[in-house]
């Protein structure tokens, strides 16, 4: 009889993986006195949709591309200090927290991303939906990339035809 294949249990994976085991995304850090325009420029420079606002190295807020979208259609908001328009004291996780906790917080709050902080509230990166999905996909390459092989192959063939 064939050996059973490796079983993939998502709850087990989420509870045995720590947030720090994922590739945490590095995002721009700003001071509360920086303008919204500076925030937008910093986010564009790394093509990432959020920036963390820190005071003396400690996380005090977050500003996202969603905030920019709303500020853009409000008059003269781009010269405001980010400290005025950011989300203050955002929900955070520690790098040693279970991934389960991060995903649960994202689901509960409808957050796309969470800042990851150390014991002193200093940010070490962010964990987001994309990095969780990227991690999951890495755990089941056959399931995901088998779909790819055939599609990619046919694209090459069509181009050569």
């Amino acid at each position: 009889m064939a050996e059973p294949g490796p079983q993939f249990d998502l709850r087990t994976l989420f509870t045995t993986t720590t947030v720090g085991e994922l590739t945490l995304t590095q995002v721009p850090k700003l001071s509360p006195g920086d303008t919204v325009e500076q925030a937008a420029t910093a986010m564009r420079a790394v093509s990432h949709g959020c920036a963390l606002v820190c005071d003396s190295g400690k996380l005090v807020g977050i500003i996202t591309e969603r905030d920019l979208l709303k500020l853009l259609v409000a008059p003269d908001q781009f010269r405001s200090p980010v400290g005025k328009v950011m989300t203050s004291a955002p929900k955070t996780v520690s790098a040693t927290a279970q991934l389960f906790e991060a995903v649960r917080l994202m689901d509960q709050g409808g957050y796309r991303r969470l800042p990851v902080v150390d014991g002193q509230q200093c940010p070490v990166g962010i964990v987001d939906v994309k990095s969780v999905i990227a991690y999951l996909v890495e755990q089941m390459p056959a399931t995901i990339y088998n779909q790819a092989a055939s599609a990619l192959l046919s694209v090459r063939e069509r181009e050569g035809a």
Binding site: E65, V73, T143
Partner: protein
Amino acid sequence: MHCPDCRYDNIPGADICQKCGKPLPQVELSASEMERSIMVHPVSVLAIKAPVSVAPTATVRSAVDAMIRNKIGCVLIVDGSALAGIFTERDVLNRVSPQPGALDRPISEFMTPSPETLRTGDSIAYALHSMTMHGLRHLPVVDANGQAVSIVSIRDVLRLLAVRFADIRSA
């Protein structure tokens, strides 16, 4: 099982696509319940949203207003009944925020034309593949006539997996 190549709807258990002859991805018996599930279930089982669309001549401002009003991260640009483009929060950041005068320009100048799409019968595994490969958060789902019928977001997929397979809502 829909052929990932020509999208033909094959009978379950087929090894090769009946229409184009390409090998079909096999649902391994050794795969976990979750893996089997995302390979056989089409994206239409996700609680996906009907798309919000605007015409190519609509202003960027009206598209942004629609995104705010509907609490969504992207709008589709539809010309007649054909999908012409997608416009996302990221486009607002990268293309609109450097030049606020852009708000009164037509959306067609700032959208991503001919976006990646899914077909209604594509599996969730295929959606995940496409999103990861192209680094996309949203994929429009089009029907056989090329008309956009819904949008799948990467959050929808994570939510489905986390709720269904990790029981995330019971601590």
